[in-house]
């Protein structure tokens, strides 16, 4: 019985020590940025047959406001024109999200590099978009390599700039 108690205590101590080491070795800034990317992908996700309106639309716009900087510059490349400023991003999203039947954006192969001082970070990734138009045509697929600049604004990580990296030039 005594040995069992001692063994349980050892296991608990090892688990606690492991937890502390895990917590100490985590890069919390990187985790927050990756979480924001997940939030962004979820905000623009539109399942087939759903119209995004009312409270749902407000929630999604609120997420965009949470993860995108007010003076952002978004230039994902042709045929999408450059978008400047958070208000323009939110306006275009609110207008355009119901102009597609379905939309899914996935960020893959994300590599994050923190700048010295940890006030900004650069993320390179492949953004994959799959969608269909309202006419019910075939699924459209687009993938492009992008570079995202993130800035820490009032303690929160926000997207300051998005630009396309040309894989073929």
């Amino acid at each position: 019985m005594k040995n069992t108690k001692r063994n349980v205590l050892i296991i608990v101590l090892v688990l606690v020590a492991g937890m502390i080491i895990w917590l100490m070795t985590q890069d919390w800034d990187q985790r927050r940025i990756r979480k924001n990317l997940d939030l962004l992908a979820a905000a623009v996700y539109k399942p087939r047959g759903i119209t995004i309106q009312g409270v749902d639309l407000f929630k999604r716009v609120a997420i965009l406001r949470k993860v995108i900087a007010a003076d952002c510059i978004i230039a994902p490349g042709e045929p999408v024109p450059q978008i400047t400023g958070l208000d323009e991003v939110c306006g275009l999203f609110a207008q355009g999200i119901n102009m597609v039947a379905e939309l899914k954006v996935v960020f893959k192969d994300v590599t994050l590099t923190m700048a010295p001082g940890r006030a900004s970070a650069t993320a390179t990734m492949t953004a994959e978009g799959i969608g269909t138009d309202l006419q019910g045509g075939p699924k459209q697929y687009d993938a492009r390599e992008i570079e995202m600049t993130w800035k820490k604004i009032e303690g929160k990580w926000k997207i300051a700039e998005v630009k396309e990296i040309k894989t073929l030039h």
């Binding site: 990734m125 492949t126 492009r144």
Partner: protein, 163 residues
């Protein structure tokens, strides 16, 4: 031992476990680094590679020799989870262009038997760099503006399709 357990773990569970671990390790290395499974999306390489088909990227393909004209290559984007499948039509230090849908290599017309759908593409000649290839899809049935083609750094070429 009941028959179903014996069927599952064999006569010697320990040996079966070791075998399973070895097979899992081999499969992990093979499908993560050597033969990367890919699901093709888009019609850019039709009819050679159909939209929606499944293939593997053989990363050993160009380990023992550089890619040649006509080879289909997998080009990594930010990583290897999303890659472009394209055909090499231009080698390093060559002039590549299109005139009325015909490929021009160093000013001379080049016949491409793998091209079935062909629009009247026109593109002024571009010169590939020392470490660059010119790649294009087989499906030339769309406008050139809608097709992803161009020069690619050789470091982006991951391998070629397995079949």
């Amino acid at each position: 031992m009941p028959w179903y357990l014996r069927l599952l773990v064999g006569k010697s569970p320990r040996r079966t476990l070791v075998r399973a671990i070895i097979i899992a390790a081999i499969a992990f290395i093979a499908f993560r680094y050597l033969f990367i499974p890919v699901h093709l999306r888009g019609a850019s390489m039709e009819p050679s590679y159909a939209n929606g088909s499944v293939n593997f990227v053989n990363t050993l393909r160009f380990r023992f020799g550089p890619p040649r004209r006509g080879d289909v290559v997998a080009i990594k984007m930010a990583g290897t989870r999303v890659m472009l499948f394209k055909r090499i039509v231009g080698l390093p230090n060559e002039r590549i262009g299109f005139r009325n849908g015909i490929l021009l290599v160093n000013g001379k017309e080049f016949q491409e038997p793998y091209v079935v759908h062909r629009e009247q593409w026109n593109m002024p000649e571009v010169v590939t760099g020392e470490n660059e290839y010119f790649v294009v899809g087989d499906n030339r049935g769309t406008a050139i503006e809608e097709h992803a083609l161009g020069r690619v750094d050789k470091r982006r070429i991951v391998g070629g399709p397995l079949f």
